[in-house]
């Protein structure tokens, strides 16, 4: 699973946003705003980390149980899939 070409995570002030550039602009001309967990998951997906690595990172950063981290991960990835940002 990886983020499609053309979707970029950017930081503006305190906000983490995703914008489309290049050909992806044809499909998406809005912005996605991410919360801190979303930013963590997105940036790890960008680095092509595995699901297990990302879940471990969420558990460590937020000191949450594995079940909670798994839910966070699958909800967020589900949203990204629904929006067509990952393939």
């Amino acid at each position: 699973m990886r983020i499609k070409e053309g979707y970029k995570l950017c930081k503006v002030r305190d906000s983490s946003i995703v914008v489309a550039v290049g050909d992806a602009v044809m499909d998406f001309n809005g912005i996605v705003t991410l919360n801190a967990t979303g930013e963590l998951i997105w940036s790890m997906l960008e680095q092509e980390k595995s699901e297990d690595e990302i879940i471990a990172a969420i558990m460590e950063k937020y000191e949450v149980a594995e079940a909670v981290a798994k839910t966070d991960y699958s909800e967020f990835v589900g949203q990204l899939k629904g929006a067509g940002f990952i393939e």
Binding site: K8, V12, V19, V21, G22, V25, T33
Partner: protein, 240 residues
Amino acid sequence: MSMYNIAGLNVSIEPVYGQLRSRCSKYLADDQSKKPQIRIAVTKERIRGFSEKTAELSAEDCEYILAGADFYSGLVHFNGMMLHASAVALDGRAYLFSAPCGTGKSTHTGLWQQYFGADRAIIINDDKPAIRLIDGHALVFGTPFSGKHDISVNAAYELGGICFLHRAEKNEIYEMPEKRAIYALLNQTLRPVDLDRMSMVLKTIDAVLGLTKVYSMGCNISQDAVRLSYETMKKGLTPQ
């Protein structure tokens, strides 16, 4: 080819038609020998290509629109961005009212002129002012590219505030949360397609948001609307 000074930049333009030439005339540079920072070259082929897509526009309208697009596209490289807004200056500060076409940006700034007098409230640019960051200040410049009506002044004012308008029966205004402000600003500028230039625009937005407040206002056509936008934005001014 002539050299113009627009938004503090040396811009070379070679107007073919009268409209572009006359609208640019007050921006003609004193020193014609400077090296251009932005080159605008609207060829007849481009005008022809564009006018085929937009049958209702004359060739001189097309030239004017394309020259504006080239200028704002170049502006991105100089810590700048266009905002689709009517910009009014009052007491040394620029207040930008942005909205989609047909909402009533110009109507609102027109009401400012009625309320404060046209000698005190000056329309900097009625449609597409340029914002540039210079020495830690956000400055708003008039440009020759001001939409349907040729309403602009060749001057710069410190940005006082940005307000996104929508029509409403009752006047109300609030400061926009940061993420919504970023989205609104990106929606009313020339959004670059490539990552490099997109990053430049986001850097400009980042700095603008650090220097000024962004509001959302529902407004009707009244002097109450003017009082509300002015008083709210004045209170929110950051020290110069």
